[in-house]
Amino acid sequence: MTTFTVNGTRRTIAAAPDTPLLYVLRGELELNGAKFGCGLGQCGACTVLVDGEPVFSCVTPVMLLEGRAVRTLEGLGSAEAPGPVQAAFIAEQAAQCGYCIAGMIMRAQALLERDGDPDDAAILAALEPSLCRCGTHVRIVRAVKRAARAMAGKMEAVR
């Protein structure tokens, strides 16, 4: 048994401890955000955040997550109330098939949480581990910049 939080909720996992997190999220926890893309940590479709850092859930056995905080796409918002990064992706229509986008958004979220005003190079570097095949890259970069502005504006409003 492994226990960790997923999107803020404490979960005790029945799956064998060597099961990669991806299959626990998609199977036991019935979450769709993390996608199976390669199972090899090469494409980024399965990216989730563990204690704020992006990880490939497809190669992360749950035994490594005892007591940790996992965040998935579902933890950032919903279709009705999307989070700022999700809203930016919708506003920029930054998807074609959209299969890679969950991973992109998680990487963007991690980047923006540690750097509120990333330049182009920082955005490209942060997204480098994630593959997109439709060629939506240009829009994805735009969406990350839009999200940065939105998050900065929100911070401004709080102050």
Partner: protein, 447 residues
């Protein structure tokens, strides 16, 4: 701190004594950038090969920046030094350098204006290079595309930021001699030694340095450090399981991997990328010389453990990953982590370079410190830029307890060596080095 203090004392003493006598170098008059037509094509091509062997572009190119335009930050124990622009741009590069100034920089570590250069630029190796080769390198560099780029200022503490101090350093540690052939050895070996000791500057990383940052010549190739990575000992002191042969070295240098040793990673990665394009006979010569450095006395070739699928018929179209092994209930934590996170690729039988290396052969596990292994686990091997190359995911999510257990298991059970002592500080240091930019984007400086 101790290091800086000591250095200050020595520098002050040496500086005072030597400054006038030794430190002074005059400025060489600038020239108009020579036109491309001033150089023979054959000479340029020879220079191109030598630049590859010299790994010039690796240090003189900022990440994502134009080749040879400099600006790469090089962390040293003394502070950060930025590489300079060696494109022929007249204002910000070396466009106005006469050949003599280039030769002086390579041989004496002094720039055209007469300023001493920090030994991060390995003139202590380059000084061996012949006149003809330096002229060829010059021809190559002067025919590159000029790029306007000024490197950021070095970040060095006093007194190291005073270049005159380097005169004292040179007095103590820099005694260049021209290269002399060893008549007892054949031409290939001598060529290899000329390149390895000279332009290729292997010792700059693979030889330990003293407190003042100078290579300890008496311990040549005994292993050193570069950019937070261990540069393994070469020759008789090499920790490898399977001794290097000339053929294995040549393949490794040319292709960046070797089945019995692994894949070139960290700062060695770009070195082999350069060498891949260098003349084959030069690589052979380097391998010849490196092989002559000797093999570890006590070690003999170890038979490779058979892959789980010895038949070689594993249908890779189900994936190159191994099925989980049922572990007994009393299995230790380290082996459990290994089985879940590592074995799936490293015991799956996919051939190198794209497959995971057989960890029993891995030099990282046999090395004196866990530094490289930690770097690999925490950073992984990112995908190469558009090239077919191995990819290993990072396992930064592994906490210190799991990491410690894993390293103990790998070291004792897989590498069959005594456990590394005191893993905690090594883990902390490796985590710090591996973490993405902390709170600010360093390219833009602190807020």
């Amino acid at each position: 701190m101790k290091r800086v203090l000591l250095l200050s004392l020595v520098a002050a003493g040496c500086g005072a004594l030597a400054a006038l006598a030794y430190a002074w170098h005059g400025e060489m008059a600038p020239v108009s950038p020579p036109p491309a037509a001033a150089f023979e094509r054959a000479q340029i091509e020879r220079g191109a090969s030598l630049a590859l062997i010299g790994d010039c572009r690796t240090c003189h190119t900022a990440p994502g920046g134009p080749t040879f335009a400099g600006g790469l930050a090089m962390p040293t124990p003394f502070g950060t030094i930025y590489s300079t622009n060696i494109t022929p741009d007249p204002e910000t590069g070396i466009g106005r350098w006469p050949l003599a100034a280039f030769v002086r920089a390579m041989r004496e570590g002094v720039d055209r204006e007469g300023r001493h250069l920090y030994p991060a630029f390995p003139y202590d190796h380059f000084s061996l290079t012949t006149d003809a080769d330096l002229a060829a390198l010059y021809a190559f560099l002067m025919t590159r595309a000029p790029v306007v780029a000024t490197a950021p200022a070095n970040q060095l503490p006093f007194p190291i930021n005073i270049r005159l101090v380097l005169a004292g350093w040179k007095l103590l540690f820099f005694h260049p001699e021209p290269f002399a052939n060893n008549p007892a050895r054949d031409a290939a070996w001598n060529r290899g030694r000329y390149l390895v000791e000279g332009l290729a500057h292997c010792g700059a990383c693979h030889t330990p340095r003293n407190l003042m940052g100078a290579e300890i010549r008496s311990r040549a190739f005994a292993g050193g450090e570069a950019e937070g990575w261990t540069a393994y000992p070469l020759g008789a002191q090499s920790p490898v399981r399977v001794p290097w042969t000339k053929a294995a070295l040549a393949q490794y240098l040319r292709e960046g991997w070797q089945a019995d040793h692994g894949v070139a990673l960290g700062p060695m990665g770009p070195v082999t990328e350069n060498l891949a394009e260098a003349p084959a006979q030069d690589i052979e010569a380097m391998a010849d010389y490196l092989a002559s450095l000797g093999t570890p006395a006590s070690k003999t070739a170890m038979p490779k453990a058979p892959a789980p699928d010895a038949s070689g018929q594993r249908p890779q179209s189900t994936g190159w990953q191994a099925a989980a092994i049922a572990l007994p209930a009393d299995t230790g934590a380290g082996r459990r982590v290994f089985a879940a996170a590592c074995a799936v690729c490293h015991q799956a039988g996919r051939p190198l370079p794209l497959g995971g290396v057989d960890l029993a052969l891995s030099t990282a596990l046999a090395a004196e410190t866990p530094q490289n292994l930690l770097n690999l686990i925490l950073r992984g091997v990112p995908a190469a830029d558009g090239l077919a190359a191995p990819v290993m995911p990072p396992f930064a999510a592994m906490d210190d307890t799991a990491l410690t257990a894993l390293l103990d298991y790998l070291r004792r059970d897989i590498a069959a060596r005594p456990a590394w002592p005191d893993l905690a500080p090594a883990i902390t240091a490796a985590r710090r080095a591996a973490s993405p930019q902390t709170n600010v984007n360093p390219a833009k400086g602190a807020p």
